[in-house]
Symmetry: D2
Subunit: 284 residues, 4 copies
């Protein structure tokens, strides 16, 4: 994979904005492999993502950032430049279900997910077997023994010690405390096993079974203090029928969960997601 | 299309049940073109649908029904036999949006929907143009002038006069009174423009836009007194993204509505739907 | 609908290209509602589409085009500017099947398709009823009586007389002669009733039934002299099973055809499709 | 999971057939959890699958089979009874790609696939790491060193020694010799990385990229001597666009492959697939 820089911008929409950014990129010799724009016509907000061959640039990463700063200030941008050779550090949090965890580990192992996974944290010990095979340090945080508060304090410490950039709740069945949600805003991704906003909260498959829906699904979203209400990154659904038992729905749903989470995590790692209020722009 | 009889049964699951029904059918020479079974393992309820070549039977429709009655009683069945040559009478109710109405009319016109459409009823006059072309009597019930109660009384009278078997709310934007819902239980099909239970109530596309979901959908369901809570027959979804405006979502959603409603109505007309409590068995 | 100009460009990818175009647009005060870019990394070709509020520009349509010409020449562009208030003239060609024809007419009637439909041409008289209702002149070209050559000569004359911009084969069951394909290259859209390249040629549903596939589909593509080999704009599929007869497959397939064709035609009318060799870039 | 017997039948359609089978089941006290029927109206062939609680029967598995034999002979049935507690032995064949292999192993590990996996065979050594973790014996058959004929002879020997019931080609990139195809007819499942019959043969993703299709897919099918022409069990597709490179198509396609193969293998293991000529009935 060639090294790329990604320039991610959002700001009030203004005439001349794209011209300035494009001229800046041209002036630095940028060879652009992918460019995406979006204007939210309701709010007048503009979103932009460029992926640039690093070796086409006449400057270093740091110089590039410094040089861009005046433009960013001129247009009142929220912005960042990321370097594809600097891999984000991802912590996986799990409980007893292995399907999402194993899928993410395998995609990481085969290079589909461009990140480091320095640790797996779980509130049960069973997932250690998978962590071991992939040679990822495993931390069992014993919620029952420690109590919820101490347990989350330990998790917070672990995330800090490992300098984690993104926390993925891979069917982690504990609700994050509000303080942690706030602290890690935009840096925690969860998979909820329904097509939200349907069936928020506990036991979504049983809820779906009881309601008699003809679709089952999963939603990958950023975690906020409002449970299951955070910005949605990706959703996946499958058809079901009366002949599907609640067990069948769980099995089919798992495939939705795996797919939606894998997509959501990849989009985040490749800087394809911009959060805007309670929604996302996803340059998929 | 060859004439068929459809034998629809639901009853407590019992050993010997299928054998008795099958033996009865064999004794009458029935050539079966389609047979579907379902046992709800949670409630122990059994559901069955047979489609039989009418001319394979040694008896008439009435004799067939009479002969079957003892078996039905023995197994405590809810049951019916329908004759494909007796077309159900369907009333279409509409407001200002034409897409579902025109789609159903066209499918009826080309023979995909095996029914009669003796009338179209609307709370606005604009749909008359389509009714005229298809030569279907059009009744404009002026809700504004008459008031809601009188308007629905007139609709009820029309449904009775036309001896309507199925009422289809093809984006009819008035909420049926509870008494009518009860009276016509299992005989009124609605299309709701969201993937229920998400976005029940008014303006589902705007709700979906505000929530930032990545799917848009429609739900075809039987109408009950609990608004948007009736048994679901069919659901349809499409992917959307940040680049879809609320207008785009409406356009994409319309295609979901058309599809889900057309399927739901056809399933009902072909006796493929069995309502059980608040859910459906659909032998699609 | 607000008036917009659409600037469509494709050219060799070059550094400075986007900057020049963006600066030009900014200099003319262009308020951009939608911008899409694509670089084909294999061929080094660049594709770009801008949609611009017409009344944000300081110039007229003609002035805008004139002013842009030097930039287009500098970067060796294939390009065009279209004005959303100038509706393309679309001819619909049909045979005996009404589903695609009626669907397009209805979408046009409700304003979803921004075009004029000055004529419907068919090799059978049956579709006249729909043309009449929508008040569109109907031309029955009697292939049997005239012979194929004379019939297509008449069609060609009609397309010229009506100054047709886009010809849509809405299940028109005659193969266009090569000369007409060449003359109208990029201006004739067909719907083929399979997911091409599977089941090219005649009777695709029967082919699909015989092969026992688990999907049925439709393909919307530009017509070229190589039958069913032209650039694909859109494809649509549905799941089928052993329980679907060839008749069921036709019914399900029709829904695919309608959807794929409606999308493809809309994309074309909104200048969202750029043909490049035998493929398309579709800024959907 | 409760022990079940599965009675799978196909025979010429005859009146009295279902009655006889149902009466037999009732006479043996069979509690039926799932019953599926299909009549192929074109060929007059009848297909039936019953799943029965083993402990509801008054007889043993062997007695049940013996007792059913006269009915089977009377109606000229192809039939079998399988016992869910007798796990089929499945061999996985792989090459260099791990996604299908790891997915099947994980589904087996978590109990979704009810089978034994006594061996993994590969023409490259790299997959040994996964085999080791799952504690499945791994056999590297070195095609380069041995030559194709000797290599397949060794594979055949391995399949015999392990008494394999089903061989799954989990992206195994060697073409089985015709003799082996014939010998193992109906017992070898392959995943082809296109929506067949499109893009049979080598490099389907590159073929798809070159053709410019808007869908990518995978096909799970039984292997026959005619390459990529065997009976299709399951197909899966995803939408793609011009912005997907051949690499993106491979990544998206892998998800299709994993899903289609997992479904196909599960259907086979649960005796849900009946092969009829070159097609399948799948009681999913």
């Amino acid at each position: 994979m060639q090294q790329t820089f990604r320039l991610i911008i959002d700001c009030p929409d203004q005439i001349g904005l794209v011209a300035s950014v494009s001229q800046f990129l041209a002036d630095h010799g940028a060879s652009i492999t992918e460019a995406s724009h979006h204007t939210d016509l309701q709010t007048g907000r503009f979103f932009m993502r460029h992926e640039i061959h690093a070796n086409s640039l006449s400057t270093s990463y740091e110089e590039f950032k410094t040089a861009f700063t005046p433009i960013a200030e001129q247009f009142d941008m929220r912005w960042k430049v990321s370097d594809s050779s600097t891999k984000p550090k991802v912590a996986l949090l799990a409980s007893l279900e292995s399907h999402c965890l194993v899928d993410l580990l395998h995609r990481w192992h085969t290079g589909e997910l461009n990140c480091d996974i320095p640790c797996i944290i779980a509130n049960h010990p069973q997932m250690k077997q998978f962590a071991d095979w992939y040679k990822v340090p495993f931390h069992w945080v014993d919620f029952k023994a420690m109590g919820k508060e101490a347990a989350f304090a330990q998790i917070e410490t672990l995330l800090e010690e490992y300098a984690i950039d993104l926390t993925v709740l891979a069917r982690f069945m504990q609700i994050l405390p509000n303080t942690l949600c706030s602290k890690l805003a935009g840096k925690v991704i969860n998979i909820h096993h329904s097509f939200l906003p349907s069936f928020a909260g506990a036991k979504p498959y049983q809820q779906a079974y009881n309601r008699g829906v003809k679709l089952i699904g999963a939603t990958c979203h950023y975690v906020t203090a409002d449970l299951d209400e955070g910005p949605i990154i990706e959703q996946s659904v499958k058809r079901i029928s009366h002949s599907d038992s609640a067990t069948d729905m769980v099995r089919k749903g798992k495939d939705c969960e795996v797919t939606a989470l894998a997509h959501g995590v990849r989009y985040h790692l490749e800087d394809r997601v911009i959060i805007h209020e309670n929604k996302t722009v996803v340059f998929a």
